[in-house]
Amino acid sequence: MSSNLALFDDEFLKKLEYLNIISKRLFAGQFRAERRTRRRGTGLEFADYRQYVSGDDFRHLDWKAYLRLNRLIMKLFEEEEDLPIYFFVDCSQSMNYGNPSKLNYAKRVAAALCYIGLANLDRVNVIAYAEKIRGELQPQRGKGRIFKVFRFLTDVTSGGETNALESLKTYCTATRRRGLAVVISDFFDQGGFEPALDILRHFRHDIFVVHVASHEEIDPNLKGELLLVDSESQQSREITITPSLLTAYHSEYNRFCEQLEAYCWKYQLGYVRTATDFPFEELILKVFRQGRFLK
């Protein structure tokens, strides 16, 4: 992992600094930052007027209005706060598949997006999940924390079956603030991907789905008499690969992707699908921007 993260050379990191994660909604932050909120506060952007009440900071009184109207009127400014961003990284055993593995690719995507968030003073949370929450990085802010993020991601290992519903439900029912939830996964969940994403929708998170697939899954190079072993459940099945069976698999895989994409489209969720052999920089600098996840 460390070697892979080392691929973020200075030039690439500089490019990332110019990027900003887009949230379609406005969420309440915890600290002052650069992101607009619904709150009125001490920002630079004028928002509104209101009657002065006792205890208000008279630094924001509009003295010119007082001279004209002889009334104390307060100038209100938009509050700029940080954005809570939750990166849910699937680290189930199925993610440890392909060359490079999907988990490796997912970690790099998460690391890149975390860096963008940290650079924009957003509050970045990283959660590794499989059959349950397997690791959680407490909220981080500021570019200086990126190495902490890297270290956390480096320590994440694959294992266990995917149970996104249980994992996300556990995380969301804790007292968390709403924010941008980025789910990076292959979505091979025996319980289906819909219940898990429904949970995030239920807690009113702004959701962005990053669907990672390996080339071996998209176009498996299989032939002959095979014993297929599920990497998560270790269940095996004897199978004879025929051209028609491969065609049927392709159809099924495409249907699966289309279902996921259709779900995201239906609920206005951001969606990006990438293969592990797709150039990483291009994904970050072009695809995410085209998908209006970054600007």
Binding site: K223, T240, A248, Y249, E252
Partner: protein, 585 residues
Amino acid sequence: MRFLALSTLQTTLLALLTAGTVIALYLLKLRHRRILISSSLLWRRVLEDRQSHSLIEKLRRIISIIIAVTIALLIAVSVSRPEVEALTGKNERIVIVIDTSPTMETLSSDGKTRWEHAVAQAESLLASGGPTTEFRISDTSGRIASSFTTDRNEVRQALANMRPVAAEPQFPKVDVNESLTYFISDGVSIPQVSKSVKRISVFEKAGNVGITAFEIRTRPSIPPSYEAYLEVQNFGGEPAETEIAISGPGRQRVNKSIKLAAEESLQEIFDLTTFEGGPIRATIQSRGDALKSDDIAFAYLPIKRRTRTMLVTKGNNYLQTLLKLDSFVDFSVVDPANFKEADVDAYIFDRFAPATAPSRPALIIGAPDAPWLRTAQGVVNKPQITMWSETHPVMKFVSVHDMSIERASRIDARDLTVIAASNQIPLIVASERPKWVMLTFDLNSTDFPLHVGFPVFIDNVLAWFSRDQLALHGAPGTIEVAMSNAQIRSIDDKIIPSQPQMNKTVFEALEPGLFTATQGDGRLRIAVNLANRNFSDVNRSAFRNDSVAFSEKHFLRRELWFYMLFAAVVLIAAEWFTYHKRITL
């Protein structure tokens, strides 16, 4: 269904064993390659979908087993050479015997010869029968005989090598109990065959005038002169105008036109006094003649030359008178005491023999003692002639059956040719090299000089010593010449292949002709002529309208095992294709 290579029980056991082995192999668990996949989620959906909807998916294993068992059974059962009579016909052995006698060259009204019709009939026979039918073909000349085979081409090749030959035909030995025998013939030369032989006739009535005899013989009354004896017969049903021609080596030619009524024969003698010595050819021509091989005959006219002979005797009236009267002989008489070699063609030693063998051939009368002759080992009184050779040149036209001999010497005749003998006691012997003839008895102790054959005998002996001989007679076929390692040449001086056999030389004369055998100074001529009434009488058929219905042709032209192996190969190819396409397991 029958099995030609194995019994039904063996075939059944083989089939069961094969099928059992294949099924057992299929039931063995095939070791699958282990492949780790990220998730079986999608594969499970695909397989559930396919297995629940595809019947072929459920039957794939069964179909694969059925195909494999079928392939194995096809190969296993084909080993036993199965036969289904309805498809391939009955397995039988057929012998085709074709008559290759000279009469098969007779032309039919359609312009084809009887031989060509016979070949067509043989082809029809070969085309009939099933693929398991074994054929064998043989001719009546004994030259060509194939072995039993199902390969038609092999039989056709043997048939292509056959042709009529002017040789005495003989029905080949055939086991009629083991095989079905067809005899294709005109029924002329071989009229009788076993009843179990199916006869196919190619006979058609035809006109033919043929030479049935031709020879040149001396005229003892007017020596040295020769005459030709010719016998011609009309074997057709209609009168025939015939042109006869006797031609010699120069421009000598005798022509004669005759008209022969049906079945009429003509015996004619032609004077050859004006002919020079050499090959003589007799030919006949007649309209509508269907057989050409009996229209020509050959003979040899010896070149006339007197024999210079020295008679060494103390006095013998018989011999002196005889030699004086013989116009073929220039002779001189010498007393034994004064004998010395001279420039002569032959010697006659009467009760005398020189100490060394003479350089020229000699007739020795009595059994005088000499190192180069056989020593007398005793005397035999009144020996009766019990055997004499009629074929030896010195005995031509000579009969000695009534000759009486008072006394003869007993000699050892090993390595000599015994010409006449009394039981085991040789009386007249001959040596080829050096050439001499010996009478073991004195002319004074026999009545031989009083026999009419005596002058002929002396003349034959002198002729055998030094004169050109008349040609020996022979019929087409294998000819034996009483000369060891002789070279045989035809009338047009081509060398004929020959083989030495004991002290003889053997060669094949398939057509009439005049052949010359040469060995050192020795020379012998053989006139080979058809001159045979049996061959020329082309209408003397014993089975004129015999024919048989050939067995019907069958759909399959090869044995079933061939088609079974072919089907196995096709199935293997199909299995290979479907296996690699993962249609079958």
